[in-house]
Symmetry: C2
Subunit: 109 residues, 2 copies
């Protein structure tokens, strides 16, 4: 009923997609995701995703002092991250097509 379960397996892709627009830190990433439509996304989920992606070698990370709070941890895509984004974009597209076909009663051929 809610997006919770839909998010699974998609949040990493969403995070990578936001990161493609430019480097950011977790707190801001959450904000961007919510503005993009994932309103209910939890910050901890995003931090966890960032941790997983970074641990998997898909992201770069750099700590930058801030003047309005604690230091920010900026993340950015590296080569592997870009590859993964492309890859999972394809997976998503195929999946979405399958889903849409099913939902529309596919009356083609």
């Amino acid at each position: 009923m809610d997006q919770t379960q839909l998010l699974k397996g998609v949040l990493d892709t969403a995070v990578l997609a936001v990161l493609r627009r430019g480097r950011t830190y977790g707190y801001d990433l959450v904000r961007q995701l919510r503005e993009s439509g994932f309103e209910g996304v939890g910050d901890a989920s995003v931090y966890g995703t960032l941790r997983r992606l970074f641990g998997g070698g898909y992201l770069t990370s750099e700590i930058v002092p801030s003047e309005e709070g604690p230091a920010r941890k900026y993340y950015g895509l590296n080569g592997a991250g870009i590859d993964m984004l492309e890859q999972s974009t394809k997976t998503w597209s195929g999946f979405a097509d399958t889903m849409n076909g099913l939902l529309q009663g596919e009356e083609e051929e």
Copy 2:
């Protein structure tokens, strides 16, 4: 990377969508899902989904003896199931739009 995680939160919708084409039993439903594109879906996942949906009051169920094996358990949509399908179709559409927007770098306004 694979569809495993993507399936979560979508399998029920997919099952309902297949059921809208007509009543069937689990084994055949698995076959239809695989033919539709969800190739890796596990039978136990589908049976679990059917059990959940039936338990939630979204399906009718009827056991029919078969001549080629054990009795089949036919499932069909009832009113609640149809409502749920409509509802989750909307949720899915919104979600997919959000995702696609993110992935396409949304250069609109």
